[in-house]
């Protein structure tokens, strides 16, 4: 490796460059034989590495950790604060404030949290899929029956995103249909739910998960995953087609 641009080329291939830097690297790659060879080799290697083992935490270890956390946290205490608040004159004001809080439509920011949390919950419980199938003729009608929504549930296996199944979930009080995809060792969830006038948050990273939102008519869509930025963008482009 003697080309001075090899690290920049690598950064470009890994999706680590911003727009302007990315254009420079792309132009260089078009003219440099050595970087082209590096790019081809890195791609081959990434394909091979996608077949390597991403170890998953065994179930007994999850249980052991949960038990240890429980011991560590100690017994749950009754919250003195609530007793104090309830006994004072502030009780009704507090109740009113709580009621207001509960009935407010979820803000855009909390929606991004809700999607990331729903995805995380499913991963933690290991119950990401309720109907397992890579056939959209199976997944689509199942989602239509159970969630009352019929999202496309298209398989993008040829593009690297394998449809593995579907489940129903709850987002901001609404029932959502979730199409579940696998990309290498990672999982992508595509949420679809009905919402006529809610505002959607911008795409952000929440709690280590990437999220993206868009609307088609009355349907809201949200993609969430911990895949890298380039793969996530590719998936969104496919899903929005």
């Amino acid at each position: 490796m003697s080309c001075d641009h090899i690290l920049a080329t690598q950064s470009y291939l890994d999706g680590q460059l911003n727009g302007a830097e990315s254009e420079v690297a792309e132009r260089h790659l078009q003219t440099c034989a050595e970087c082209q060879q590096f790019a081809a080799q890195t791609a081959d290697l990434s394909d091979a590495l996608r077949q390597t083992t991403r170890h998953r935490a065994p179930e007994f270890l999850r249980a052991r950790v949960r038990a240890a956390l429980k011991r560590e946290a100690g017994p749950t205490k009754v919250r003195a604060f609530w007793w104090g608040a309830a006994s004072g004159g502030g009780a009704s004001a507090l109740a009113a404030a709580l009621a207001l809080f509960l009935f407010l439509p979820p803000s855009a920011a909390s929606l991004a949290e809700a999607i990331a949390d729903a995805h995380a919950r499913a991963l933690t419980s290991g119950k990401t899929i309720m109907v397992a199938s890579s056939n959209h003729h199976v997944v689509k009608p199942w989602l239509a029956t159970h969630a009352g929504i019929s999202p496309p549930a298209t398989d993008f296996a040829a593009q690297g995103f394998v449809l593995t199944g579907g489940r129903i979930d709850t987002i901001a009080g609404a029932r959502a249909a979730v199409s579940v995809y696998a990309h290498g060792n990672h999982e992508l969830d595509l949420f679809t739910w009905v919402d006529k006038n809610g505002t959607l948050p911008p795409s952000t990273t929440v709690h280590g998960f990437r999220t993206a939102f868009w609307k088609e008519g009355d349907l809201n869509f949200a993609a969430v995953s911990d895949v890298d930025k380039a793969a996530f963008r590719k998936f969104i482009a496919l899903a929005r087609e």
């Binding site: 690598q10 270890l61 052991r64 946290a73």
Partner: protein
């Protein structure tokens, strides 16, 4: 369940596969990985009040890596174990012998296991956990430039040793 534990379980537990995967690749031992992950999750829980938002996955993996470093330090009775000093125990069998029969997956697993730890960790964090250079730099406590050059070297080495079947 109290709030703090609930919050921790919601935010941190989903990244336990990532924690375990890193521990498995660092130690190359299921038993040691179990202990390191449990230790790391408890330490993370104790330090959770100090976590002020940000990237929880990177934060958790940093703790996993530190737990791993302290087990090395403990076992070697040295205050400062560094990755470069660590000698690699041999893999289960001679890779040449084993790899002949094995599929690409097993072969690649063996080759990654034989990389030096500082190369192995950047490769695992990048290729398996899809973390950004910035996140990897944060987890490994090295400058981004070092992450980039280690990653390039890890890929070149791996590519070299996988030449005959890739």
């Amino acid at each position: 369940m109290d709030d703090r534990r609930h919050r921790f379980e919601t935010l941190a537990m989903p990244h336990m596969d990532a924690a375990y995967n890193l521990a498995r690749w660092l130690t190359r031992s299921p038993v040691e990985a179990d202990d390191i992950v449990q230790d790391a999750m408890l330490r993370a829980f104790r330090a959770f009040d100090g976590f002020r938002g940000g990237d929880i996955k990177a934060w958790l993996l940093t703790i996993v890596r530190n737990c791993w470093l302290s087990t090395i330090a403990g076992s070697r009775r040295r205050a400062h174990a560094s990755l470069e000093d660590q000698e690699l125990p041999a893999a289960d069998a001679s890779p040449e012998e084993t790899a002949i029969q094995a599929g690409t997956q097993r072969r690649m697993d063996l080759l990654i296991a034989q990389l030096a730890p500082e190369f192995r960790e950047v490769l695992v964090l990048r290729e398996m956990e899809d973390l950004s250079y910035r996140e990897i730099a944060e987890i490994t406590g090295t400058p981004i430039g070092t992450v980039m050059s280690r990653l390039a070297r890890a890929r070149t080495q791996l590519r070299e040793s996988a030449k005959e079947f890739l």
